[in-house]
Symmetry: D2
Subunit: 143 residues, 4 copies
């Protein structure tokens, strides 16, 4: 797999935060949020981040550009319960020629509940890989 780094656990390392609440529908019979439910949370935070950057994902999609997830990794450290408020901290990570990575830190109060990474391809209107847009490349902290 392609992922290059572990997400930092210091919230100060993340330029963007998004808050949400765990839905009852997202819990499972262990009494905690099911591990699959975190992925839409990462996505919701990502969409909010793109909006704040001035590149709303629905506009990008209307222009024919998609950012499909080509890899995800998530480490679950503490359970999240129904109605818990979760803060998703997000930071851009390495950008490749036609891919980019985002890192996530999920906290409930002062507790780190999960860290995650998503890797995205950049696809053009023809469905083929396309050079990562300059506004995304500019976010690469290693640049």
């Amino acid at each position: 797999m392609r992922r290059t780094q572990d997400p930092p656990t210091d919230p100060a390392a993340y330029p963007f935060t998004h808050r949400l609440r765990a839905r009852f529908a997202e819990t499972d019979a262990m009494g905690v949020v099911h591990h699959a439910a975190y992925l839409p949370w990462l996505e919701e935070a990502r969409v909010a981040y793109l909006r704040v950057l001035g590149h709303p994902y629905d506009v990008t999609r209307a222009e024919g550009v998609e950012f499909p997830v080509i890899e995800v990794a998530c480490a679950y450290r503490r359970p999240v319960r129904f109605d818990d408020e979760v803060t998703v901290h997000l930071r851009p990570a390495v950008c490749g020629r036609a891919t980019f990575e985002l890192a996530y830190l999920l906290m409930h109060g002062d507790t780190t509940v999960a860290t995650a990474v998503t890797v995205h391809a950049v696809l053009g209107p023809d469905g083929r890989p396309r050079r990562t847009p300059e506004w995304l490349r500019a976010l690469d902290p290693s640049r």
Copy 2:
């Protein structure tokens, strides 16, 4: 709302059955399957039924015809638990000019766990209502 009838609770009244198993991801913190998870089960049974009728839904969709759900009603009678095998009994109900209804009976062993109805529109390639196809109208038991 549009729904015209209550689904019968006698499995013999249903010409088609589809079996599935409750996934752990479908349970919630009450320890039983979450009520929203039943709707994809109805859909899975519907898709299997259309396949058996010789009109697979992916083919119908490739021809530009969609059957979006415009109404759903579900009555939950007994809880379903993780790994329970559920039999979805399905029967066509009334067909309208540009809509049709399906009725469902969900059983776990000899126990009725739920009954449901879905009402569907028929949309053509232009996204506009279209006459219910003859092969669907022919299924209407009241006809």
Copy 3:
């Protein structure tokens, strides 16, 4: 089925509103929000409503009282798309001895996108039906 009424389509008839945004994970290959995804939205609005009423659902559950959905009906009038903001209007409806109903009106801007009803049982710590609490009965508009 048990549901007694159609939800009004005038937002002024609803005492409570809750806003949310359609997630990308909630869309389907028709390009709109999948019909099953509305049920967790109703639930999220319901949980927010109980919190505002001073009876947060996590507290109620910790006291051993559950409000499982025993019936749901939803009529889909207009599609909802990715990133659309949806306002869920909620109002209490009829309360029975050991059940209660809630009605919902979902709007995107000035457009009614769906109406819905959920019927709930009241279960005690022993998992058996229990008299609807007085604070819920007091909300019954027909009372």
Copy 4:
């Protein structure tokens, strides 16, 4: 993160296979299965594998032992479409003192669509880590 290896892409390296079909509810507005929907597929295959091993997960859970996912990684190589049949190949990987790993290869026909790894903790009735059961340790291919 903890994951130690990339899953092999040769199906012959996997002792267990489980087949399923992509549900319409699992697709998204890109017209393909949403990346979060693969995680319940891995889980469904895992549950089927434990059943075949003679240790059904519902029995294990009834005995108070849980195998929560503490890490997941998934690489998406080719899109999966509605109604595609997917074969989930599964193999046990490294077992730790109180954890174990499983590797997955997902194929549609002869095409590799994804590879994945899940890492699980072993928790006892008190909710605390517990030694990985001998029947699981015996599966470790590196042993």
